[in-house]
Every structure is written in C-alpha cells, then in structure tokens.
Symmetry: C2
Subunit: 347 residues, 2 copies
C-alpha cells in the first residue's frame, strides 16, 4: 500500500508513504540511523539488515519526551559530525514522534539540510506520517516551540513495528485517529465504532485514512493559517495539560484525549455539540482505555498557559471545536469567564 504525498508545499518536494512495503533499501551514500534505547533493542537489527549503504552509523538517544530538547539535538549533531556525515548523506528516523521530530529538525539544520527518511514505530507517528513536515523540540516555555518545516524523502509505516508497542502507547495513537474522524469524517467515525485493530486490515485502513485526510488538509493550507489548525483539536488544552502535569506524566495521545473532552465541553456550552455526540466521542476514547478527565491544579495558571502556546498570537486564543461530528469550527471569541467556567468542571 503506497500513498503519494504530493502537496504543493513551498519546498515543492513530494514523497511516498509506504504502508507495509519496507524491503531492502539501497542508499548510495552514508546513512545514519537516529533511534532511541528502547526502539533500538526491538527493531534496529531487522532494519540494519535491510539497509545497504556506503556506511551505516547509529546514533542512539534516550527514550522520552523529556529528552526532546536542544541538548539532545546538540548531541546528535556532534555524533553526525564525528561520523563525517555529509550533505549527500541520509538520516533515518527509527522511532516514534519524538525521534521523528528531532531527526527532522536535525536534518533541516545539519549543514543547512540533508535528506531524511522516517520509519515510525508508534501508531501515533504512523498516522501522522510526517505529513506537513513539522519538526520540532520543546523548551521550558512549552512544546514544539522551536522547529522548522522540512519534508522527509520517504516514510515507511510497518505494522510489524506496532506489534511490540505497549498497549498504553498503542491506545494513545488511537486518540489521534479519533481526533481525525471527529474533525473531518463522520463516516470514518462510525466505522471506527466497530473497528477491530487486532485485525491488520482494519489497522492499515485507519492509518491510511488518517494520512489521506491529513494530506488533504495540509494541501489546502500549508502554513497553518486556516484549516490546518483544525488538526490541533484537543491540543490547545492537551499541550497545557502535558506542561502542567510535567512532560512524561501522560503520553501525548492521552493528553490529547483529555484535551478533546475539554474542548467538547466548550463546544457543548457554545451549542456546537450535543451531549449525545460528546458522549459518543468520550465513549470511543474510553473503549481504548484513554483517560478523558484531567483534574487541573489551578484554573488561572492553566488559562494563562494558553497564551504561550504558539497557536495563539496577540493574546487571542483560538479554540478548535467540533461542529457536530465530522465538522469543525475555530472559535476565537470565547470569553475568559466562559472558558474558566468550563475549566472548573475539571478543577
């Protein structure tokens, strides 16, 4: 199964997302695989056996969102320089979103840009498939605040990789699938209710559908001025949750799951979503054992934290809300007291 990601991006670069198609990869130049300690033990051997390159180097980073920072970037860059990786070399990101975001960032700044291939090993990063080319790292001010737009030259999504994924992490990936369905595709949402991800075909279909939707969205709006922001459903709240709870407490998908429920509360209040619809969404999240209720610590601090999120500019917060299931609405005029009242539900 192969999806052609041919978005009219400013870089004019196109690439393929291959689903279960990773075979022998011949690369005529040096290759450096960037991976983490956990993934390395599970999949590195298999991957290395399939790569034929002039030289093959491995850079292993620590596993976890808390290492997605400038310090790790510097470590990776130094390793690449030590191996004399040059402009014609290719980096391979073998891992989940953290490895992918960081490798993409490194690829975009190493000698002003080298090629990179992504081999996502988590469900979350497979449904993302790097469509849109966002790379980034966190800092003390928030998530993904430093980064670039940079396209991979190919993405290989292997369902084989997902077999070793802890249940909790797999479910976190499902949150992202549910997000896509609620925002863009009611039919897909209905299909999801009865889907069985133990069946390989169901899983592959869901991954494919998410990538297709995301590609369409990004094509319509590369630089996030419009519809692309809709992909941040659940994220405006989710990012603050991750930050308040401390990175590493929740998986990204778990924070998004709780963020979705918060956003839905606001959507209900504004009259965009019925209680029945909100319950259907929450039930689907619960089906995958996802947390849906976050107990926030301090309403005022939580509210203030929105303004450091990069989706808001000039002190206006834009909330991405469902407008029924399968459609979305961006709301920028939600009053402070209304939002804070919603937050009280979770206080």
């Amino acid at each position: 199964m192969k999806i052609d990601i041919d978005i009219n991006l400013s870089s004019n670069q196109k690439y393929f997302v291959h689903i279960d198609e990773f075979d022998v990869l011949n690369i005529d130049h040096k290759v450096a695989i960037i991976t983490n300690e956990t993934v390395s033990k599970l999949h590195l051997k298999t991957v290395c056996e399939k790569i034929k390159a002039k030289e093959l180097h491995i850079v292993t980073i620590k596993d976890g969102e808390e290492y997605k920072n400038l310090e790790t970037i510097e470590y990776v860059l130094n390793e690449l320089f030590k191996y004399r990786i040059d402009r014609k070399s290719t980096l391979i990101a073998l891992g989940g979103g953290v490895v992918g975001d960081m490798t993409g960032f490194v690829a975009s700044i190493y000698q002003r840009g080298v090629k990179f291939i992504q081999m996502p090993t988590t469900l979350l990063s497979q449904v993302d498939a790097r469509v849109g080319g966002k790379t980034g790292i966190n800092n003390k001010f928030g998530k993904n605040l430093i980064g670039t737009f940079y396209q991979p030259s190919a993405v290989y999504c292997e369902s084989e990789f997902l077999k070793t994924l802890p249940k909790r992490e797999f479910n976190a990936g499902v949150a992202e699938i549910i997000k896509m369905a609620v925002m863009f595709d009611k039919e897909f949402f209905e299909w999801l209710k009865n889907a069985d991800f133990n069946k390989k075909e169901d899983l592959k279909y869901a991954i494919k559908r998410c990538i297709e939707i995301k590609a369409q969205v990004v094509m319509l709006d590369e630089k996030e001025n419009g519809i692309r922001a809709v992909l941040n459903y659940g994220h405006t709240f989710g990012h603050v949750i991750e930050c308040e709870a401390g990175y590493g407490t929740y998986l990204h998908g778990e924070a998004v799951s709780m963020g979705i429920v918060m956003a839905n509360e606001l959507a209900k209040k504004i009259g965009l979503l019925t209680k029945k619809e909100a319950d259907e969404i929450e039930d689907l999240l619960k089906k995958y054992d996802l947390p849906t209720r976050y107990n926030l610590k301090n309403i005022d601090k939580f509210y203030d934290a929105f303004f450091l999120d990069k989706k808001s500019s000039n002190w206006v917060i834009t909330f991405i809300l469902p407008n029924g299931i399968g459609q979305s609405k961006m709301v920028s005029d939600a009053k402070e007291d209304i939002v804070k009242n919603i937050l009280k539900v979770f206080g």
Copy 2:
C-alpha cells in the same frame, strides 16, 4: 537606491535590498531587535527612533565570531519567549554577519519561522545582503556547519552605519568585493583599481554591484550544486585558516584574503592564472591593508581540515579557482601532493 531580490527560491519569497533608504519603519506587530554590545552603543538609539511597532524589545548578544554558537542561539530564543514574541512578530538583525547569520537562524526555527529584517552594519554583511538566505552558526567541527536556508523580508544597507566601522573591519569587507570581481566581472575589477571608498558614490556602487552579482549567481543555482559554489573562492582555504588560527584571530574577510592568495597559488600551478594576474589581485588586496600571506602551522593537519569543510563531500575537495580575472573554474581533481606543495609555500 533599491534592488529587487526576486530569486526563484524554493520559498518563493522575494524581498528588497534598500541602499540608503532606511526611514520610518511601521510594523503592526511586536518587534525584537537582535544586536550586539558594540553595535548597540553606536546605532541602537537611531534605529529605535525610526521604528514604530506595537512593542519593541532588544536582545543584546556578545560581540564576536566566538559567540556564534548554539549557546547564544539558546539565549536569544529564551529572551524571545520571555517577551512573548509570537508568529506574527518581526525580528530585526542589527549588526554584521554574525548577528545576521544568528538572527536568520533564530527566525527560521523560532516557532517554525518568523519574519526578519536585516540591517547590516558592516561592509562585509552589506555586500552580502543575505542574498541566498544562508543562516548558520559554528561548532567545534567548523564554521557554519549548522544552519538553514531562510529569506529575510527586507534588507536595509545604510552607508551611515559604515562610518563608525574600524578601518580593519571595513577593509575585511573589501576582500569580499574583490572576490566578487575576480570571479565574475573583469570590468568591475578594473574599476576597483581606481575606486575611492571615501567617496560615498563609489562605495554605494560597489555594494550594489556585489549584491547584483550575487543575486544573479544564486538565481542560477540556489542550492549550491553549481555556480553558487564559486562564491566560496578563498573560503575553502579561509575557513581552515580561521579554524587553525582560532576564531577571532582574523576577521573573516582577512582569512578570505589569505585564502584567495592560496587559491591563486594553486591556480597558477594548474595554469589557470598568470603570475601577473595573481600579483594584480594581491596588490589590490594589499591596497586595503589586507593580510595576504598566512603562515600555516602544520601542512598535514591543514590539508585534513578541508574534509570537514561542508563544501567537500565523500573525501573529494573542490577548489574554486580563478580562470583568469573575471572567470572561475571548479577543480575537484587536484592531487594531494600538488596541494600540499602549494601549502608548503605558506609553511
């Protein structure tokens, strides 16, 4: 005087270089000026008076190539986050090449890209005018090894800024002007022999001519696969000189001046340049009190250092040499012993 830089870059972005046209600048959003301690004392007040923005913040970094590193980038990023600079804000680089390279890099990675305007305060950075959009920082492996391609939204070259420039730094900028003439324009080279940079009109003409040539070159080849590499005349040697001597020992233009003479020695040896032509070039460099003879410490180490320079890949060094005055040739098959014999001249 205004030059339209409309290169068909991958970013499809065009901008103007304004020569002596900086008047009141109205910016509807937040602005952060990135400058250094030296420039700040000389020009910050004048510049601030001319900028009308919603908020105006200043980030001051230390003066010198030795601070052009990831640590300074992190400091600048943190300052911007503290001031809540957002995606619609504009950064202004007020300073020379170091401030420009770093501000451009920061602008390209801050929240995945914000606008930036450059106000170059050195001759070197004015003749460069950021044409081609290279940004970058150094690390222990070499110069400009980390960076991006990122275009400014405008460049303001003010001859007023150059009046406070130390003679030595001014002359370092002239090295770059001479480089352009030798590589691309014999007529310009002849004109330079009699030019008087105390005359404002001569100076403005030389700046304009360099920017025009560079824009033409970059248009022909954005990603340095071909002719753009010619801009590195003197730099292959120059970078190694800067590195061996220790950053800060020589100004960039001084290292380029010595690098030009080294390259010319090789060009003479290969039969691309006559002794008369090489002498003419060296005489012009000397007219501006530029160093032309570098006494290198260790020939083998100097030679090995070429391979970490990003212009070389897969253990082939490409030398950019003059082919007579006004034309160039890229030489990738220079034998090790020939190059080392040339280096002995400087040993």
